[in-house]
Amino acid sequence: MVASISVVEDLCGESDDSSFVDPVDRAIIVETQGGLPLVSKPYHAVAIKLGLSAEVVMERIRAMQRSGAIRRIGAIPNHFALGYKANGMAVWDVVDEQVDALGHQIGRLDFVSHCYRRPRYLPEWPYNFFVMVHGQSHPEVEKKIEEISHILGADCRANDVLYSTRILKKTGIRLK
């Protein structure tokens, strides 16, 4: 099964009202962002902690799945521990007129985990297209990057790859 392509406008940049999660959703997020309890009835356990009914918790979670606030529920693997030791942030300078169409195409490749358009800082940083590529080795990652470059073709003017050499911090994103 392949995850659906999610095309999301940068809501932050377009809205001053950043608090579109209501207090009940917010309480559910805060309670579950560290993980679901590994008990027979996990949603009931969350409900008891929050003083809600299990039906309300499950309905809210389903609604957040529909709205996209929850991307998915499940296991979030540590890719280093799974043997994906080469993690490259591949970047390209793609012609502005073509980058969106190409972005959707490349987002469909099964080895791509993140795929974004970001601003350039000329002349120091000419790259506007960012793709995270994971593999067991650098040659494997480079082969995948080649594949992407091939798709980009003449619409790409320059590219580079930045490998992570050290994780300096990884606490994850948390609502307070």
Binding site: V8, D10, Q33, L38, A69, R71, I73, C115, T165
Partner: protein, 148 residues
């Protein structure tokens, strides 16, 4: 060490998890396990660090938060002190050293854009180096599943 059952659990649970009264029993049935075999193995995979987390993966912006990617070019002799400043901000969620002149890359998450700007200004002020803010302009895809 992971065995074939662990691998099947990891692959299956990256596809999603049901929202119902007894979701572990339902998934266990798909894997021909008992509910307690599944939760015991899942706990072990979390304890060993094979899985970072088990639960909902949220879309930061859609849950009311803001997030950006920022980069810095830091000469080697300043690295240690600059990293300490960056990591001291609770809004910095991830920070990686990478192989490039732009060698420090970190994710800032906060409840408002103004709070993100405050973190960037604070890092620049306390380090004397430029923070290159690279918020996403478009998201084409997020969400690889790692087959094991």
């Amino acid at each position: 060490m992971m065995d074939t059952v662990d691998r099947a659990i990891i692959n299956t649970l990256q596809e999603g998890f049901p929202v119902c009264d007894q979701p572990f029993a339902k998934v266990a049935g798909m894997l021909s396990l008992t509910e307690s075999e599944l939760t015991t193995r899942l706990q072990a995979l979390l304890d060993e660090g094979v899985l970072n987390r088990f639960g909902p993966l949220f879309h930061t912006e859609r849950m009311g938060g803001c997030v950006t990617l920022a980069a810095m070019k830091i000469p080697k002799s300043y690295l240690h002190s600059v990293i300490r400043v960056i990591n001291g901000f609770p809004e910095v969620a991830h920070n990686y050293e990478r192989t490039h002149e732009f060698n420090i890359w970190f994710v800032i998450a906060a409840e408002t854009l103004a709070a993100i700007d405050d973190v960037i200004a604070g890092i620049e002020q306390r380090t004397g180096f430029i923070v290159y803010n690279m918020p996403k302009e478009r998201e084409y895809f997020v969400g690889l599943k790692f087959k094991v």
